[in-house]
Protein backbone atom coordinates (compact mmCIF):
# COMPACT_ATOMS: atom_id res chain seq x y z
CA UNK A 1 0.00 0.00 0.00
CA UNK A 2 1.42 3.40 -0.95
CA UNK A 3 2.07 5.99 1.71
CA UNK A 4 0.25 9.30 1.80
CA UNK A 5 2.33 10.70 4.66
CA UNK A 6 5.81 9.66 5.61
CA UNK A 7 8.04 11.31 8.18
CA UNK A 8 11.47 10.18 9.27
CA UNK A 9 13.13 11.50 12.44
CA UNK A 10 11.07 14.65 12.15
CA UNK A 11 12.12 17.15 14.78
CA UNK A 12 10.84 20.64 15.47
CA UNK A 13 11.99 22.83 18.31
CA UNK A 14 10.72 26.14 19.66
CA UNK A 15 13.72 27.46 21.49
CA UNK A 16 14.49 24.90 24.21
CA UNK A 17 11.19 23.10 23.82
CA UNK A 18 11.20 20.10 21.50
CA UNK A 19 7.66 20.03 20.15
CA UNK A 20 8.23 17.08 17.82
CA UNK A 21 11.01 14.65 18.65
CA UNK A 22 12.36 12.34 15.92
CA UNK A 23 8.85 11.46 14.80
CA UNK A 24 8.60 8.66 12.25
CA UNK A 25 5.08 8.36 10.95
CA UNK A 26 3.58 6.36 8.11
CA UNK A 27 0.05 6.98 6.89
CA UNK A 28 -1.19 4.63 4.20
CA UNK A 29 -3.16 6.01 1.29
CA UNK A 30 -6.96 5.62 1.27
CA UNK A 31 -7.25 5.27 5.03
CA UNK A 32 -8.67 7.48 7.76
CA UNK A 33 -5.78 7.89 10.13
CA UNK A 34 -6.34 9.40 13.54
CA UNK A 35 -3.68 11.47 15.24
CA UNK A 36 -4.27 11.44 18.97
CA UNK A 37 -2.50 13.10 21.83
CA UNK A 38 -3.08 15.41 24.77
CA UNK A 39 -2.71 19.18 24.45
CA UNK A 40 0.86 20.15 23.64
CA UNK A 41 1.71 16.68 22.37
CA UNK A 42 3.00 18.02 19.05
CA UNK A 43 0.04 17.16 16.80
CA UNK A 44 -0.52 20.63 15.33
CA UNK A 45 3.22 21.25 14.97
CA UNK A 46 3.57 17.99 13.01
CA UNK A 47 0.64 18.96 10.79
CA UNK A 48 2.07 22.44 10.20
CA UNK A 49 5.33 20.89 9.02
CA UNK A 50 3.36 18.62 6.69
CA UNK A 51 1.51 21.53 5.09
CA UNK A 52 4.63 23.71 4.80
CA UNK A 53 3.80 26.29 7.47
CA UNK A 54 6.79 25.27 9.59
CA UNK A 55 10.23 24.08 8.63
CA UNK A 56 11.59 21.05 10.48
CA UNK A 57 14.87 21.40 12.37
CA UNK A 58 15.82 17.82 11.58
CA UNK A 59 14.44 14.91 9.60
CA UNK A 60 12.13 14.98 6.64
CA UNK A 61 8.49 14.76 5.71
CA UNK A 62 7.02 13.44 2.48
CA UNK A 63 3.56 13.63 1.00
CA UNK A 64 2.91 10.92 -1.58
CA UNK A 65 6.68 10.50 -1.87
CA UNK A 66 7.43 14.17 -2.49
CA UNK A 67 9.44 16.04 0.08
CA UNK A 68 7.62 18.84 1.85
CA UNK A 69 9.76 21.94 1.86
CA UNK A 70 9.27 25.58 1.04
CA UNK A 71 6.76 26.71 -1.53
CA UNK A 72 6.10 23.44 -3.38
CA UNK A 73 2.80 24.09 -5.13
CA UNK A 74 2.69 20.57 -6.59
CA UNK A 75 2.63 19.06 -3.10
CA UNK A 76 0.08 21.59 -1.84
CA UNK A 77 -2.17 20.74 -4.78
CA UNK A 78 -2.59 17.25 -3.32
CA UNK A 79 -3.51 18.47 0.15
CA UNK A 80 -6.72 19.89 1.52
CA UNK A 81 -5.97 21.30 4.96
CA UNK A 82 -8.33 22.48 7.62
CA UNK A 83 -6.52 24.25 10.46
CA UNK A 84 -7.58 24.05 14.09
CA UNK A 85 -10.23 26.76 14.60
CA UNK A 86 -9.75 28.14 11.08
CA UNK A 87 -9.79 31.90 10.53
CA UNK A 88 -10.73 33.45 7.22
CA UNK A 89 -10.77 37.05 5.98
CA UNK A 90 -13.86 38.60 7.51
CA UNK A 91 -14.34 41.01 4.62
CA UNK A 92 -15.05 38.24 2.11
CA UNK A 93 -18.29 36.37 1.57
CA UNK A 94 -18.15 32.60 1.96
CA UNK A 95 -18.82 32.15 -1.76
CA UNK A 96 -16.13 34.69 -2.70
CA UNK A 97 -13.55 32.95 -0.54
CA UNK A 98 -14.19 29.50 -1.98
CA UNK A 99 -14.28 30.97 -5.49
CA UNK A 100 -10.84 32.53 -4.96
CA UNK A 101 -9.41 29.38 -3.39
CA UNK A 102 -10.96 27.39 -6.26
CA UNK A 103 -9.09 29.53 -8.78
CA UNK A 104 -5.86 28.83 -6.89
CA UNK A 105 -6.54 25.09 -7.15
CA UNK A 106 -7.02 25.43 -10.89
CA UNK A 107 -10.79 24.87 -10.93
CA UNK A 108 -12.43 26.22 -14.08
CA UNK A 109 -15.26 28.72 -13.86
CA UNK A 110 -17.73 26.00 -14.79
CA UNK A 111 -16.37 23.68 -12.10
CA UNK A 112 -16.58 26.42 -9.51
CA UNK A 113 -20.12 27.24 -10.57
CA UNK A 114 -21.17 23.59 -10.39
CA UNK A 115 -19.31 22.41 -7.32
CA UNK A 116 -19.44 25.30 -4.86
CA UNK A 117 -23.21 25.14 -4.21
CA UNK A 118 -22.92 21.37 -3.59
CA UNK A 119 -20.06 21.93 -1.21
CA UNK A 120 -21.93 24.60 0.73
CA UNK A 121 -24.86 22.23 0.93
CA UNK A 122 -22.77 19.30 2.11
CA UNK A 123 -21.24 21.26 5.02
CA UNK A 124 -24.55 22.78 6.04
CA UNK A 125 -23.91 26.33 4.89
CA UNK A 126 -26.54 26.45 2.17
CA UNK A 127 -28.25 29.84 2.18
CA UNK A 128 -25.38 31.53 4.04
CA UNK A 129 -22.80 31.47 1.24
CA UNK A 130 -23.38 35.13 0.36
CA UNK A 131 -22.95 36.40 3.92
CA UNK A 132 -19.71 38.05 4.96
CA UNK A 133 -17.50 35.61 6.87
CA UNK A 134 -17.33 38.21 9.64
CA UNK A 135 -20.98 37.40 10.33
CA UNK A 136 -20.35 33.65 10.57
CA UNK A 137 -20.44 31.94 13.96
CA UNK A 138 -17.47 29.87 15.12
CA UNK A 139 -19.25 26.70 14.06
CA UNK A 140 -20.01 28.12 10.62
CA UNK A 141 -16.35 29.08 10.15
CA UNK A 142 -15.49 25.51 11.12
CA UNK A 143 -17.82 24.21 8.41
CA UNK A 144 -16.31 26.65 5.92
CA UNK A 145 -12.91 25.29 6.95
CA UNK A 146 -14.01 21.79 6.06
CA UNK A 147 -15.49 23.02 2.76
CA UNK A 148 -12.26 24.73 1.69
CA UNK A 149 -10.27 21.61 2.62
CA UNK A 150 -12.49 19.48 0.38
CA UNK A 151 -12.77 22.09 -2.38
CA UNK A 152 -10.24 20.61 -4.77
CA UNK A 153 -11.12 16.97 -4.04
CA UNK A 154 -7.55 16.50 -2.81
CA UNK A 155 -5.80 13.16 -2.49
CA UNK A 156 -5.00 13.90 1.14
CA UNK A 157 -7.26 15.73 3.56
CA UNK A 158 -5.63 16.93 6.77
CA UNK A 159 -8.14 17.93 9.42
CA UNK A 160 -6.90 19.49 12.64
CA UNK A 161 -9.60 19.12 15.29
CA UNK A 162 -12.52 19.32 12.83
CA UNK A 163 -15.22 19.07 15.50
CA UNK A 164 -13.89 21.85 17.69
CA UNK A 165 -16.52 24.56 18.06
CA UNK A 166 -19.35 22.51 16.60
CA UNK A 167 -22.62 21.68 18.32
CA UNK A 168 -23.46 17.98 18.90
CA UNK A 169 -25.51 17.79 15.70
CA UNK A 170 -22.67 19.44 13.77
CA UNK A 171 -20.19 16.96 15.22
CA UNK A 172 -22.24 14.01 13.97
CA UNK A 173 -22.58 15.66 10.55
CA UNK A 174 -18.84 16.26 10.34
CA UNK A 175 -18.16 12.65 11.25
CA UNK A 176 -20.48 11.45 8.51
CA UNK A 177 -18.85 13.89 6.09
CA UNK A 178 -15.40 12.51 6.91
CA UNK A 179 -16.58 8.96 6.37
CA UNK A 180 -18.01 10.02 3.01
CA UNK A 181 -14.72 11.59 2.00
CA UNK A 182 -12.87 8.30 2.18
CA UNK A 183 -15.50 6.59 0.12
CA UNK A 184 -14.47 9.06 -2.59
CA UNK A 185 -10.93 7.65 -2.45
CA UNK A 186 -9.21 10.29 -0.38
CA UNK A 187 -6.82 9.78 2.51
CA UNK A 188 -7.79 11.54 5.71
CA UNK A 189 -5.36 12.47 8.46
CA UNK A 190 -7.45 13.53 11.42
CA UNK A 191 -6.09 15.15 14.51
CA UNK A 192 -8.55 15.07 17.37
CA UNK A 193 -8.70 15.24 21.12
CA UNK A 194 -12.04 13.42 20.97
CA UNK A 195 -11.18 9.77 21.45
CA UNK A 196 -14.62 8.51 20.53
CA UNK A 197 -14.45 10.50 17.32
CA UNK A 198 -11.23 8.78 16.31
CA UNK A 199 -12.64 5.42 17.34
CA UNK A 200 -15.82 5.96 15.34
CA UNK A 201 -14.25 7.46 12.24
CA UNK A 202 -10.70 6.16 11.86
CA UNK A 203 -9.31 2.84 10.77
CA UNK A 204 -5.77 3.62 11.95
CA UNK A 205 -4.37 5.68 14.76
CA UNK A 206 -1.09 7.18 15.91
CA UNK A 207 -0.86 8.23 19.52
CA UNK A 208 1.64 10.96 20.24
CA UNK A 209 2.83 12.49 23.49
CA UNK A 210 5.58 15.07 24.08
CA UNK A 211 6.47 14.94 20.40
CA UNK A 212 7.08 11.19 20.40
CA UNK A 213 4.87 8.62 18.67
CA UNK A 214 3.89 6.05 21.29
CA UNK A 215 2.07 3.66 19.03
CA UNK A 216 0.82 3.57 15.42
CA UNK A 217 -1.35 0.83 13.94
CA UNK A 218 -4.93 -0.09 13.20
CA UNK A 219 -7.27 0.75 16.05
CA UNK A 220 -7.90 -2.96 16.71
CA UNK A 221 -4.22 -3.81 16.81
CA UNK A 222 -3.44 -0.87 19.05
CA UNK A 223 -6.07 -2.08 21.51
CA UNK A 224 -4.69 -5.62 21.45
CA UNK A 225 -1.10 -4.50 21.80
CA UNK A 226 -1.78 -3.08 25.18
CA UNK A 227 -2.05 -5.74 27.80
CA UNK A 228 -4.26 -4.63 30.58
CA UNK A 229 -7.12 -6.01 32.64
CA UNK A 230 -10.46 -5.84 30.90
CA UNK A 231 -13.49 -5.66 33.13
CA UNK A 232 -17.01 -6.97 32.73
CA UNK A 233 -19.70 -5.04 34.56
CA UNK A 234 -22.85 -7.14 34.85
CA UNK A 235 -26.19 -6.55 36.52
CA UNK A 236 -28.31 -9.61 37.31
CA UNK A 237 -31.83 -9.99 38.68
CA UNK A 238 -30.69 -12.05 41.66
CA UNK A 239 -27.17 -12.57 42.93
CA UNK A 240 -26.40 -15.98 44.49
CA UNK A 241 -23.31 -17.44 46.14
CA UNK A 242 -23.24 -20.34 43.60
CA UNK A 243 -23.26 -17.91 40.71
CA UNK A 244 -20.27 -16.01 42.08
CA UNK A 245 -18.36 -19.21 42.83
CA UNK A 246 -19.00 -20.58 39.33
CA UNK A 247 -17.75 -17.35 37.82
CA UNK A 248 -14.57 -17.47 39.94
CA UNK A 249 -13.91 -20.99 38.59
CA UNK A 250 -13.65 -19.69 35.02
CA UNK A 251 -9.97 -19.83 33.96
CA UNK A 252 -9.81 -16.27 32.57
CA UNK A 253 -11.47 -14.63 35.57
CA UNK A 254 -8.97 -13.10 37.99
CA UNK A 255 -11.36 -11.46 40.44
CA UNK A 256 -15.07 -11.00 41.10
CA UNK A 257 -16.46 -8.16 43.17
CA UNK A 258 -20.12 -7.78 44.10
CA UNK A 259 -22.36 -4.91 45.11
CA UNK A 260 -26.13 -5.45 45.44
CA UNK A 261 -27.07 -7.20 42.19
CA UNK A 262 -24.01 -5.94 40.32
CA UNK A 263 -20.89 -7.93 39.43
CA UNK A 264 -17.51 -6.49 38.57
CA UNK A 265 -15.46 -9.25 36.92
CA UNK A 266 -11.74 -8.67 36.21
CA UNK A 267 -10.51 -10.60 33.19
CA UNK A 268 -7.01 -11.85 32.51
CA UNK A 269 -7.51 -12.00 28.77
CA UNK A 270 -8.00 -9.67 25.86
CA UNK A 271 -10.33 -12.17 24.12
CA UNK A 272 -14.05 -11.55 23.99
CA UNK A 273 -15.36 -13.94 26.67
CA UNK A 274 -18.80 -12.41 27.12
CA UNK A 275 -20.66 -15.48 25.75
CA UNK A 276 -18.86 -17.85 28.18
CA UNK A 277 -19.61 -15.57 31.11
CA UNK A 278 -23.21 -15.26 29.99
CA UNK A 279 -23.59 -19.07 29.79
CA UNK A 280 -22.10 -19.50 33.27
CA UNK A 281 -24.53 -16.98 34.79
CA UNK A 282 -27.53 -18.52 33.03
CA UNK A 283 -26.34 -22.02 33.99
CA UNK A 284 -26.13 -20.88 37.64
CA UNK A 285 -29.78 -19.76 37.56
CA UNK A 286 -29.12 -16.05 37.07
CA UNK A 287 -30.70 -13.65 34.59
CA UNK A 288 -28.62 -10.86 33.05
CA UNK A 289 -30.12 -7.38 33.06
CA UNK A 290 -27.11 -5.62 31.50
CA UNK A 291 -23.51 -6.37 30.53
CA UNK A 292 -20.74 -3.89 29.78
CA UNK A 293 -17.18 -4.70 28.70
CA UNK A 294 -14.64 -2.03 29.59
CA UNK A 295 -10.88 -1.78 29.44
CA UNK A 296 -10.40 -2.42 25.72
CA UNK A 297 -11.53 0.85 24.18
CA UNK A 298 -9.16 3.22 22.47
CA UNK A 299 -9.75 5.59 25.34
CA UNK A 300 -8.36 3.06 27.82
CA UNK A 301 -5.38 2.41 25.58
CA UNK A 302 -4.82 6.11 25.17
CA UNK A 303 -4.99 6.78 28.87
CA UNK A 304 -2.71 3.86 29.58
CA UNK A 305 -0.11 4.98 27.04
CA UNK A 306 -0.16 8.61 28.07
CA UNK A 307 0.04 7.59 31.72
CA UNK A 308 2.96 5.28 31.04
CA UNK A 309 4.79 7.92 29.03
CA UNK A 310 4.16 10.42 31.81
CA UNK A 311 5.62 8.08 34.41
CA UNK A 312 8.67 7.39 32.26
CA UNK A 313 9.11 11.09 31.61
CA UNK A 314 8.87 11.81 35.30
CA UNK A 315 11.51 9.27 36.28
Amino acid sequence: MSLAIETANLTKRYGRLTAVDKLSLNVSANTIHGFLGPNGAGKTTTIKVLVGLLKPDEGEARIFGEEVSGDKADVKLKIGYMPELPKFPKHLKGSELLDIYGRMYGLSEQQRRDELPKLFDSVGLKGRENDLIGKYSKGMQQRLGIAQALLSEPELVILDEPSLGLDPVGMVEVRELIKGVVKAGMTVFLSSHLLFEVQQVCSHVTIINRGVALVSDTIENVSHKIKGPATLQIEVTKLTKTLVENLRKLPFVTDVKTEDNKLNISLGTQDDVRSQVSETITGSGGTIVSMNLTGQSLEDVFMQLIGKAGEEGGQ
Partner: protein, 319 residues
Protein backbone atom coordinates in the same frame (compact mmCIF):
# COMPACT_ATOMS: atom_id res chain seq x y z
CA UNK B 1 -11.67 12.12 -7.44
CA UNK B 2 -10.42 14.55 -10.05
CA UNK B 3 -6.73 14.87 -10.82
CA UNK B 4 -5.98 18.57 -10.53
CA UNK B 5 -3.47 20.50 -12.56
CA UNK B 6 -1.79 23.62 -11.24
CA UNK B 7 -3.38 26.95 -12.03
CA UNK B 8 -1.26 29.23 -14.19
CA UNK B 9 0.81 31.96 -12.53
CA UNK B 10 -1.54 34.56 -14.03
CA UNK B 11 -4.64 32.85 -12.58
CA UNK B 12 -3.03 32.66 -9.14
CA UNK B 13 -1.86 36.26 -9.32
CA UNK B 14 -5.30 37.52 -10.32
CA UNK B 15 -6.91 35.40 -7.58
CA UNK B 16 -4.75 37.15 -4.96
CA UNK B 17 -5.48 40.54 -6.52
CA UNK B 18 -9.20 39.80 -6.30
CA UNK B 19 -8.82 38.56 -2.71
CA UNK B 20 -7.01 41.75 -1.72
CA UNK B 21 -9.12 44.20 -3.73
CA UNK B 22 -12.33 42.88 -2.18
CA UNK B 23 -10.74 43.59 1.18
CA UNK B 24 -9.48 47.05 0.23
CA UNK B 25 -12.79 48.29 -1.12
CA UNK B 26 -14.52 47.12 2.08
CA UNK B 27 -11.91 48.51 4.47
CA UNK B 28 -13.49 51.22 6.58
CA UNK B 29 -10.08 52.84 6.98
CA UNK B 30 -9.69 53.27 3.22
CA UNK B 31 -13.23 54.55 2.81
CA UNK B 32 -12.61 56.98 5.67
CA UNK B 33 -9.39 58.34 4.15
CA UNK B 34 -11.06 58.61 0.75
CA UNK B 35 -13.90 60.65 2.27
CA UNK B 36 -11.32 62.81 4.07
CA UNK B 37 -9.39 63.31 0.83
CA UNK B 38 -12.53 64.43 -0.98
CA UNK B 39 -13.38 66.75 1.89
CA UNK B 40 -9.88 68.30 1.67
CA UNK B 41 -10.14 68.58 -2.11
CA UNK B 42 -13.51 70.29 -1.74
CA UNK B 43 -12.01 72.66 0.81
CA UNK B 44 -9.06 73.38 -1.52
CA UNK B 45 -11.50 74.24 -4.28
CA UNK B 46 -14.10 76.13 -2.32
CA UNK B 47 -12.18 77.98 0.39
CA UNK B 48 -10.60 80.65 -1.87
CA UNK B 49 -13.99 81.31 -3.44
CA UNK B 50 -15.65 81.64 -0.03
CA UNK B 51 -12.90 83.97 1.24
CA UNK B 52 -13.11 86.10 -1.91
CA UNK B 53 -16.86 86.40 -1.52
CA UNK B 54 -16.50 87.41 2.12
CA UNK B 55 -14.05 90.15 1.07
CA UNK B 56 -16.18 91.18 -1.91
CA UNK B 57 -13.43 90.11 -4.28
CA UNK B 58 -13.94 88.48 -7.63
CA UNK B 59 -12.43 85.04 -8.14
CA UNK B 60 -10.08 85.47 -11.08
CA UNK B 61 -9.76 82.81 -13.77
CA UNK B 62 -6.67 80.65 -13.26
CA UNK B 63 -5.87 78.39 -16.23
CA UNK B 64 -3.02 76.68 -14.31
CA UNK B 65 -5.05 75.88 -11.20
CA UNK B 66 -5.59 72.16 -11.85
CA UNK B 67 -2.08 71.34 -13.04
CA UNK B 68 -0.50 73.05 -10.03
CA UNK B 69 -2.88 71.55 -7.46
CA UNK B 70 -2.02 67.90 -8.13
CA UNK B 71 -4.10 65.39 -6.23
CA UNK B 72 -4.77 68.04 -3.63
CA UNK B 73 -3.76 65.77 -0.75
CA UNK B 74 -0.02 66.48 -0.53
CA UNK B 75 2.67 64.61 1.34
CA UNK B 76 0.49 63.68 4.32
CA UNK B 77 -2.19 62.38 1.99
CA UNK B 78 0.29 60.07 0.25
CA UNK B 79 1.44 58.73 3.58
CA UNK B 80 -2.08 58.29 4.92
CA UNK B 81 -3.27 56.41 1.84
CA UNK B 82 -0.18 54.17 1.99
CA UNK B 83 -0.71 53.51 5.67
CA UNK B 84 -4.36 52.51 5.51
CA UNK B 85 -4.00 50.43 2.38
CA UNK B 86 -1.12 48.18 3.45
CA UNK B 87 -0.64 48.46 7.23
CA UNK B 88 -2.46 45.14 7.71
CA UNK B 89 -2.07 43.59 4.27
CA UNK B 90 0.43 41.04 5.56
CA UNK B 91 0.65 41.62 9.31
CA UNK B 92 -3.15 41.64 9.64
CA UNK B 93 -3.33 38.20 8.05
CA UNK B 94 -0.79 36.89 10.55
CA UNK B 95 -2.62 38.53 13.45
CA UNK B 96 -6.04 37.17 12.48
CA UNK B 97 -4.76 33.74 11.44
CA UNK B 98 -6.21 34.00 7.92
CA UNK B 99 -2.66 33.64 6.57
CA UNK B 100 -2.79 29.91 7.45
CA UNK B 101 -5.36 28.78 4.86
CA UNK B 102 -3.87 31.18 2.31
CA UNK B 103 -0.29 29.91 2.65
CA UNK B 104 -1.40 26.31 2.34
CA UNK B 105 -2.95 26.83 -1.07
CA UNK B 106 -0.93 25.78 -4.16
CA UNK B 107 0.39 29.25 -4.77
CA UNK B 108 3.83 30.67 -4.09
CA UNK B 109 4.43 33.28 -1.43
CA UNK B 110 6.03 35.50 -4.04
CA UNK B 111 2.78 35.48 -6.04
CA UNK B 112 0.83 36.27 -2.86
CA UNK B 113 3.14 39.21 -2.16
CA UNK B 114 3.02 40.57 -5.69
CA UNK B 115 -0.76 40.19 -5.84
CA UNK B 116 -1.19 42.07 -2.60
CA UNK B 117 1.00 45.00 -3.58
CA UNK B 118 -0.56 45.17 -7.04
CA UNK B 119 -4.03 45.29 -5.48
CA UNK B 120 -2.90 48.12 -3.19
CA UNK B 121 -1.59 49.99 -6.23
CA UNK B 122 -4.88 49.48 -8.07
CA UNK B 123 -6.72 50.86 -5.05
CA UNK B 124 -4.43 53.92 -5.08
CA UNK B 125 -4.88 54.31 -8.80
CA UNK B 126 -8.66 54.31 -8.44
CA UNK B 127 -8.65 56.73 -5.51
CA UNK B 128 -6.21 59.19 -7.11
CA UNK B 129 -7.97 59.05 -10.48
CA UNK B 130 -11.25 59.96 -8.81
CA UNK B 131 -9.56 62.79 -6.87
CA UNK B 132 -7.85 64.21 -9.95
CA UNK B 133 -11.05 64.08 -12.01
CA UNK B 134 -12.93 65.74 -9.16
CA UNK B 135 -10.34 68.52 -8.84
CA UNK B 136 -10.14 68.99 -12.62
CA UNK B 137 -13.90 69.32 -12.90
CA UNK B 138 -14.06 71.63 -9.89
CA UNK B 139 -11.14 73.72 -11.12
CA UNK B 140 -12.77 74.08 -14.53
CA UNK B 141 -16.06 75.20 -12.99
CA UNK B 142 -14.47 77.67 -10.56
CA UNK B 143 -11.39 78.95 -12.41
CA UNK B 144 -12.45 78.55 -16.01
CA UNK B 145 -10.81 76.58 -18.85
CA UNK B 146 -7.59 74.87 -17.77
CA UNK B 147 -4.22 74.47 -19.49
CA UNK B 148 -2.11 71.34 -19.78
CA UNK B 149 -4.78 68.89 -18.65
CA UNK B 150 -2.98 66.31 -20.79
CA UNK B 151 -0.23 66.33 -18.15
CA UNK B 152 -2.55 65.09 -15.41
CA UNK B 153 -1.42 61.52 -16.05
CA UNK B 154 2.02 62.66 -14.79
CA UNK B 155 0.34 63.83 -11.61
CA UNK B 156 -1.28 60.43 -11.31
CA UNK B 157 1.90 58.43 -11.95
CA UNK B 158 4.07 60.65 -9.77
CA UNK B 159 1.60 60.45 -6.90
CA UNK B 160 1.47 56.66 -7.19
CA UNK B 161 5.29 56.44 -7.06
CA UNK B 162 5.38 58.77 -4.04
CA UNK B 163 2.77 56.66 -2.27
CA UNK B 164 4.55 53.45 -3.22
CA UNK B 165 7.62 54.59 -1.29
CA UNK B 166 5.56 54.88 1.91
CA UNK B 167 3.67 51.69 1.13
CA UNK B 168 6.95 49.79 0.84
CA UNK B 169 8.18 51.11 4.20
CA UNK B 170 4.91 50.25 5.98
CA UNK B 171 4.72 46.83 4.27
CA UNK B 172 8.26 45.97 5.31
CA UNK B 173 7.56 47.01 8.90
CA UNK B 174 4.37 44.92 8.93
CA UNK B 175 5.91 41.91 7.26
CA UNK B 176 8.90 41.81 9.61
CA UNK B 177 7.03 42.59 12.84
CA UNK B 178 3.80 40.70 11.95
CA UNK B 179 2.04 43.50 13.82
CA UNK B 180 -0.25 46.08 12.21
CA UNK B 181 0.13 48.33 15.23
CA UNK B 182 3.93 48.31 15.02
CA UNK B 183 3.79 48.85 11.26
CA UNK B 184 1.54 51.87 11.73
CA UNK B 185 3.55 53.31 14.61
CA UNK B 186 6.84 52.82 12.81
CA UNK B 187 5.43 54.38 9.63
CA UNK B 188 4.03 57.38 11.51
CA UNK B 189 7.32 57.75 13.41
CA UNK B 190 9.40 57.73 10.24
CA UNK B 191 7.06 60.16 8.50
CA UNK B 192 6.95 62.60 11.42
CA UNK B 193 10.68 62.31 12.09
CA UNK B 194 11.63 62.98 8.49
CA UNK B 195 9.24 65.90 8.16
CA UNK B 196 10.54 67.59 11.27
CA UNK B 197 14.18 66.84 10.42
CA UNK B 198 13.92 67.94 6.81
CA UNK B 199 12.30 71.23 7.78
CA UNK B 200 14.96 72.05 10.36
CA UNK B 201 17.89 70.88 8.22
CA UNK B 202 16.65 72.73 5.15
CA UNK B 203 16.10 75.97 7.00
CA UNK B 204 19.15 76.20 9.20
CA UNK B 205 21.87 73.83 8.06
CA UNK B 206 24.39 73.61 5.23
CA UNK B 207 23.52 69.92 5.00
CA UNK B 208 20.08 70.20 3.37
CA UNK B 209 21.29 68.11 0.43
CA UNK B 210 21.36 65.00 2.59
CA UNK B 211 17.56 65.14 2.89
CA UNK B 212 17.21 64.60 -0.86
CA UNK B 213 18.19 60.99 -0.16
CA UNK B 214 15.48 60.45 2.44
CA UNK B 215 11.86 59.50 1.66
CA UNK B 216 9.24 62.21 2.02
CA UNK B 217 9.57 65.92 1.41
CA UNK B 218 13.35 66.03 1.09
CA UNK B 219 15.18 69.34 1.08
CA UNK B 220 13.41 72.60 0.36
CA UNK B 221 14.60 74.82 -2.46
CA UNK B 222 13.26 77.61 -4.61
CA UNK B 223 12.81 77.75 -8.34
CA UNK B 224 15.12 80.20 -10.07
CA UNK B 225 18.83 80.85 -10.22
CA UNK B 226 19.36 83.00 -7.13
CA UNK B 227 18.03 82.65 -3.60
CA UNK B 228 15.51 85.05 -2.12
CA UNK B 229 17.24 87.74 -0.08
CA UNK B 230 14.54 88.82 2.31
CA UNK B 231 11.32 87.62 3.88
CA UNK B 232 9.15 89.02 1.09
CA UNK B 233 10.99 86.97 -1.44
CA UNK B 234 10.77 83.99 0.84
CA UNK B 235 7.02 84.10 0.64
CA UNK B 236 6.57 84.95 -3.02
CA UNK B 237 9.13 82.68 -4.63
CA UNK B 238 7.97 79.25 -5.72
CA UNK B 239 9.07 76.63 -3.25
CA UNK B 240 10.21 73.18 -4.35
CA UNK B 241 10.38 70.01 -2.28
CA UNK B 242 13.04 67.76 -3.70
CA UNK B 243 12.10 64.49 -2.00
CA UNK B 244 10.09 61.49 -3.14
CA UNK B 245 6.79 63.17 -2.23
CA UNK B 246 7.47 65.95 -4.75
CA UNK B 247 7.95 63.74 -7.82
CA UNK B 248 4.60 64.58 -9.46
CA UNK B 249 4.85 68.34 -8.89
CA UNK B 250 8.49 68.51 -9.95
CA UNK B 251 7.87 66.44 -13.07
CA UNK B 252 5.07 68.77 -14.14
CA UNK B 253 7.28 71.80 -13.48
CA UNK B 254 10.09 70.19 -15.42
CA UNK B 255 7.84 69.45 -18.41
CA UNK B 256 6.59 73.05 -18.40
CA UNK B 257 9.94 74.70 -17.59
CA UNK B 258 12.72 72.27 -18.52
CA UNK B 259 15.56 74.74 -18.09
CA UNK B 260 14.64 75.86 -14.54
CA UNK B 261 17.13 75.55 -11.72
CA UNK B 262 16.52 74.87 -8.07
CA UNK B 263 18.41 76.96 -5.56
CA UNK B 264 18.98 75.73 -2.05
CA UNK B 265 19.49 78.20 0.71
CA UNK B 266 19.47 78.36 4.46
CA UNK B 267 18.19 80.87 6.97
CA UNK B 268 20.75 82.90 8.88
CA UNK B 269 19.64 84.68 12.03
CA UNK B 270 21.39 88.07 12.08
CA UNK B 271 20.13 89.45 15.36
CA UNK B 272 17.07 90.84 17.13
CA UNK B 273 17.06 94.03 15.02
CA UNK B 274 18.48 92.77 11.78
CA UNK B 275 16.14 89.76 11.61
CA UNK B 276 16.98 86.94 9.28
CA UNK B 277 18.32 86.52 5.78
CA UNK B 278 18.56 83.80 3.22
CA UNK B 279 22.01 82.58 2.25
CA UNK B 280 22.42 80.70 -1.01
CA UNK B 281 24.06 77.31 -0.69
CA UNK B 282 24.04 75.94 -4.24
CA UNK B 283 21.89 75.58 -7.37
CA UNK B 284 21.27 72.62 -9.61
CA UNK B 285 19.10 71.93 -12.66
CA UNK B 286 15.51 70.90 -11.97
CA UNK B 287 16.09 67.92 -14.27
CA UNK B 288 18.73 66.69 -11.82
CA UNK B 289 16.38 67.11 -8.86
CA UNK B 290 13.62 65.19 -10.65
CA UNK B 291 15.90 62.37 -11.84
CA UNK B 292 17.44 61.96 -8.40
CA UNK B 293 14.10 61.87 -6.57
CA UNK B 294 12.86 59.17 -8.96
CA UNK B 295 16.06 57.17 -8.48
CA UNK B 296 15.86 57.57 -4.70
CA UNK B 297 12.21 56.46 -4.77
CA UNK B 298 13.14 53.42 -6.89
CA UNK B 299 15.85 52.40 -4.41
CA UNK B 300 13.48 52.70 -1.43
CA UNK B 301 10.73 50.84 -3.25
CA UNK B 302 13.11 48.03 -4.17
CA UNK B 303 14.87 47.73 -0.81
CA UNK B 304 11.76 47.83 1.39
CA UNK B 305 9.76 45.56 -0.89
CA UNK B 306 12.63 43.10 -0.85
CA UNK B 307 12.65 43.15 2.96
CA UNK B 308 8.87 42.67 3.09
CA UNK B 309 8.95 39.87 0.50
CA UNK B 310 11.87 38.09 2.17
CA UNK B 311 10.17 38.24 5.58
CA UNK B 312 7.00 36.72 4.12
CA UNK B 313 8.95 34.11 2.17
CA UNK B 314 10.83 32.95 5.28
CA UNK B 315 7.94 33.29 7.74
CA UNK B 316 6.95 30.27 9.76
CA UNK B 317 3.45 30.12 11.19
CA UNK B 318 3.64 28.59 14.63
CA UNK B 319 0.59 30.27 16.18
Amino acid sequence: MTKRTRASWRTNFLAVVRYELLWNIRKKKILGVLILAFALATLTLALPVVLNNLNNLKTEPNPDYVITTGTGIGSFGFFLFALVSVMNSISGEFESGSIVPLLTKPISRTTIYLGKIFAALLTMLGAYTLLIIYLAAGGYIIYGPQNNLDLLFITLLGSIVSTLVWMSIVLAAGSVSKSSMLAALLGIGVWLGLNITSGILSAFSNQAAIMTYAPGNGASGTLGTSPPTNQTNLITMESVSTGTDGIATNLITYVLHPSDNVTFSKIEILGPREGIRRVALYSEPLSMVVARSIAVAAVYIFVFNFIAWYALKRAQVAE
